[in-house]
Symmetry: C2
């Protein structure tokens, strides 16, 4: 990841980011709705906003923030690791649920879609400021991290997640939308998990990766909460 | 819903629909990859496909199917009811997970986005042929159905879904992306449920509605499977 800037649109998301660790570069707004530092905010017309917005329906304001410096990930807590996720909506949804479930570190393989892509940022609804996102050489990271944390992976032919023992801390690896977890990463997984399919048809090819991540995180956190 | 036609693009989805109860109207393909009835299939050039495709990267084929006649929903089994879901991606993802979790009937309020919208159809990955989708007057349906099934609803201030008793059959109501469940529908809910938030920040405003639906369905089905 190069150091640089990213864009977020809409009052709600901008307010969340203004109230976070992130640093504002500049703010363009058609309404007087922010208490942002004056020298960095600019009033613009709706026609001007329409020109710079990437949204079909521009939302009163657009802000540019500095991309925070990326620290080094630490092998602790419950983490999600993404192996080459390509869809910006999926990544944004996963960042948002990590925030909900108190996942502090999201580990992304270098080939995962950029989390500062505007579509990702919009889908996170402000959560991007609260989850630490690390782009790493995923096999290298896992090889080191697995000395401290168990590595779980989502596979269609894994063990039933509802009936397996799950530890409170660990790394949950989710694979690419079309190809799943790569062979190199698969070798580093301690336990393969699946979400069992229900009903008579048994024809659905797979769940969307964001849907599957939600179900795994829910199950890990439920165990911690209920102790069952 | 008017009777009519809908479009699906891509080999995988088309193959799933050809192998379903749905009836093909016409098929346009650049490759000889289908065993579809000859009089309904047409070879076209890639330039022609590009003209009729709504995808950025057209996927070798586009098919038109008849929208199946809508039967009457039956108050049985585990069901999902959607109150004014607007985002096509969310509806498509929910249809796909209903198929995975063996939810046979999906009930949509009349103001919910059309499930034959091309973006919805693409996101279902073929599952649209296997889930019965009913557009109804939602308060009217729930008032009648709750004589037979308990009605659960997703609310930020509901009871913790992990610790509440859940029945194997019932209706799980999910609300609009911005406004949640409407007041009229809320009155018909027997039990309000929430997904508890974890971690220290407690700042995430909410989960995406498709994410939340996945977690509720996972928890209902897990109970049935494990009996705990």
């Amino acid at each position: 990841m190069k150091e640089g800037l990213f864009v977020i649109e809409g009052k709600k998301g901008i307010l969340e980011l203004l109230d976070s660790r992130l640093k504002l570069h500049s703010l363009y707004t058609t309404e007087d709705i922010f208490e942002a530092p004056g020298e960095r905010s600019f009033f613009i017309s709706e026609a001007e906003l329409k020109k710079i917005s990437k949204l079909k329906t521009p939302q009163a304001a657009l802000a540019v923030f500095y991309i925070p410096k990326q620290g080094k990930p630490e092998a602790k807590g419950l983490q999600v690791a993404l192996d080459e996720i390509q869809d910006p909506g999926n990544l944004g949804t996963i960042i948002r649920m990590c925030d909900w479930f108190g996942i502090e570190q999201l580990i992304c393989s270098r080939g995962t879609v950029d989390c500062y892509n505007p579509k990702v940022v919009q889908a996170t609804m402000g959560s991007i400021a609260r989850v630490q996102i690390h782009y790493v050489d995923l096999p290298e990271y896992l090889a080191e991290a697995k000395k401290k944390l168990p590595v779980y992976g989502a596979f269609l032919e894994g063990e039933n997640v509802y009936s397996q023992p799950l530890s409170a801390e660990g790394i949950v690896v989710m694979g690419n939308e079309a190809n799943g977890i790569s062979t190199e990463v698969e070798k580093l997984v301690n336990q393969k998990l699946k979400i069992p399919q229900f009903g008579s048809s048994q024809r659905t090819e797979s769940l969307n990766v964001a849907t599957a991540t939600a179900i795994f995180l829910s199950e890990f956190r439920r165990r911690t909460l209920t102790g069952k």
